[in-house]
């Protein structure tokens, strides 16, 4: 099965800083260490493999990390730690669709397609079918700011599916379209599946998930609670939601708080230690390091760069002194 793994992620984590005010953000960017800013771990170690031709559903309550996972797979945001192997081109469709309001629908199609790396010839060859799929009629020459939210999402979806992705990620984007357009999208998704492409489907609609997905990932507070056949996972999720609804107001609140605290108090170092232990063997340390940090750009500046950033101004000052006093550089060394 190894040959057709499309997406393989292991030990994915994502950390966000919880700034209290805007000025904290600016402070954070001048100070090199930030110990006092509270942290929040949107993902606390997520691992899974997905094969070609699969449709994967992502379910979970708000803030459980569904969108974070889909954004990381799409390449929009980098993970804090973890290994990410993606075999093919990804395209994400989200609400809002990232259209430019001042431009017309047609101009948006062009600009968006250019931004995904298509050439003008390629765009010319797909543009008619994008227009047809979006079903906007005369509105295609109107600025997008005049569109309804359904029209925007139709256009966004039409552009995205025509960029020929290998992996399509749909982040709650179908929830705004009407019944006819929804059916059209479903048909397109099914035809993609038949072609052996992989689909990630983020939704709160259990019926849509059940209809489209083979397997389902249930995200819960930044971790995978369950990953398996759609029917089984959805059943467990529904049971959980029902259990939660039946709790009293106070119990609900304290449950949520305790869960959120898990995400605030998560320590990456202890997670790293536990993974190292799990791997075992003599090379465990390097293996764990590879998985966690090798491919990720560290947020902190490397010490070599820090030294350079300190040395270069000094050198510049020295040179400036020489230049202003009219001394020649070569004379100084003689």
């Amino acid at each position: 099965m190894d040959g057709n793994i499309k997406v393989s992620v292991s030990h994915l984590t994502k950390q966000y800083d919880l700034y209290k005010q805007k000025s904290d953000k600016i402070k954070a960017f001048f100070t090199l260490n930030k110990k006092n800013i509270p942290q929040f771990w949107a993902l606390r170690g997520v691992s899974f493999d997905v094969y070609s031709g699969e449709a994967i559903g992502l379910i979970g309550v708000n803030g459980s990390g569904k969108s974070t996972v889909s954004n990381i797979i799409a390449g929009i945001i980098p993970p804090t730690t973890g290994k990410l192997a993606i075999n093919g081109e990804t395209t994400i469709i989200a609400i809002g669709a990232g259209l430019k309001n001042q431009l017309t629908g047609l101009e948006n199609i062009r600009l968006k397609s250019l931004m995904t790396g298509m050439t003008n010839e390629e765009i010319d060859s797909i543009i008619d079918s994008v227009i047809e799929f979006s079903d906007l009629g005369d509105f295609i020459n109107q600025p997008v700011k005049n569109y309804s939210s359904g029209m925007k999402s139709r256009l966004g979806f039409a552009i995205a599916v025509h960029s020929k992705p290998d992996i399509l990620i749909i982040d709650e984007a179908l929830s705004v379209g009407d019944e006819t357009f929804y059916q059209k999208c479903v048909d397109k998704i099914l035809s993609y599946k038949a072609e052996g492409k992989t689909i990630f489907f983020v939704s709160h609609s259990i019926s849509q998930i059940k209809m489209l997905c083979d397997r389902v990932i249930w995200m819960h507070n930044g971790e995978i609670k369950e990953f398996g056949p759609a029917e089984k996972v959805v059943e467990g999720y529904q049971k959980h939601t029902k259990w939660f609804k039946e709790l009293g107001k106070k119990e609900q609140k304290s449950y949520l708080n305790s869960q959120k605290n898990l995400q605030k108090e998560f320590k990456i170092d202890s997670y790293y230690q536990s993974v190292t232990k799990e791997l075992g063997g003599p090379a465990a340390e390097t293996e764990a390091y590879d998985i966690f940090y090798k491919e990720n750009i560290p947020e902190k500046m490397s010490s070599a760069s820090k030294v350079l950033l300190f040395l270069i101004p000094l050198l510049m000052l020295f040179l400036a002194y020489l230049i202003v006093t009219g001394e020649r550089l070569l004379h100084v060394f003689r």
Partner: protein, 268 residues
């Protein structure tokens, strides 16, 4: 240092996209104008006319350094237009498009390059006009003209890394862009574009201090090349200072850009 290479790799890997988007945007910007892209040339020419009247006819009738004022000004001002428009354009580039790119897979670090790229047509035409003017005024090519390539590289590299840094800072702090606009207006007079700043009778050490301005280094460099005045390696320490400045901006800019890239949307 590693991050500088990541940024450069992004740029070279997506150079086709940079080229196509800048071409598309140029067309889109001037689409509704009768004179179209011609404005990209007309605008600077009108400004040159004014500067000629104010600085050429009023104060520098005798020319500067043995050439007529126009021949002296044209190469400098052509470079300045490129510097000014690219710096301000690239500074705003990420902020302008953030809504669009935040929901798709797109190398944000190439956006400043798109702004710089769209200034290159104007730059080429303005330089063409300058060179024709020089030839008409009987200033002919020499070996010094080869330095044009060197100074062009200086120009592009400086603009690109300043663009990365400025664009990142503009997203984080909106005030930065306005401050930058004011700074550019001041630098216009201190970079020797229309006004021969080092020939105004200031004390020599002030003149030498002016040479530290990287924009002046480039503008005077283009003049050194086209007016056959000297080689860049003859001013070794200033050249070294310039490249150290570029390196500093590159390291700082790449670091901040990569650090905040995924969070840009939260800042708007």
């Amino acid at each position: 240092m590693k991050k500088v290479f990541i940024i450069l790799k992004d740029l070279f890997a997506h150079f086709g996209i940079v080229f196509r988007i800048s071409k598309y945007e140029d067309r889109a910007t001037y689409q509704s104008h009768y004179l179209g892209v011609l404005w990209q040339i007309l605008n600077p020419l009108i400004q040159i006319g004014i500067y000629y009247v104010v600085f050429g006819l009023a104060t520098n009738r005798g020319g500067i350094g043995g050439v007529s004022y126009m021949a002296w000004m044209l190469p400098g001002i052509s470079v300045w237009f490129c510097i000014n428009n690219s710096t301000l354009g690239s500074s705003n580039s990420i902020h302008q498009k953030i809504g669009m790119v935040s929901k798709m897979k797109f190398p944000v670090s190439i956006l400043p390059a798109v702004s710089i790229m769209s200034q290159m047509t104007t730059f080429a035409v303005m330089m063409g006009i300058s060179i024709v003017w020089l030839l008409v005024s009987e200033i002919y090519p020499t070996f010094y003209w080869l330095q044009f390539i060197y100074y062009f590289i200086c120009l592009v590299v400086l603009l690109y890394f300043c663009g990365i840094l400025n664009a990142t800072l503009t997203v984080l702090v909106r005030d930065y862009h306005i401050a930058l606009q004011s700074l550019m207006r001041i630098l216009f007079y201190f970079s020797g574009a229309v006004w021969n700043i080092t020939g105004q009778g200031f004390p020599p050490f002030v003149n030498r201090a002016m040479m530290l301005n990287p924009f002046l280094y480039i503008i005077e460099g283009f003049r050194d090349a086209l007016l056959s005045r000297g080689y860049f390696f003859e001013k070794g320490s200033v050249t070294l200072f310039f490249w150290l400045f570029v390196l500093f901006v590159a390291i700082l800019g790449s670091h901040l850009h990569l650090k905040f890239r995924s969070k840009f949307v939260d800042f708007v």
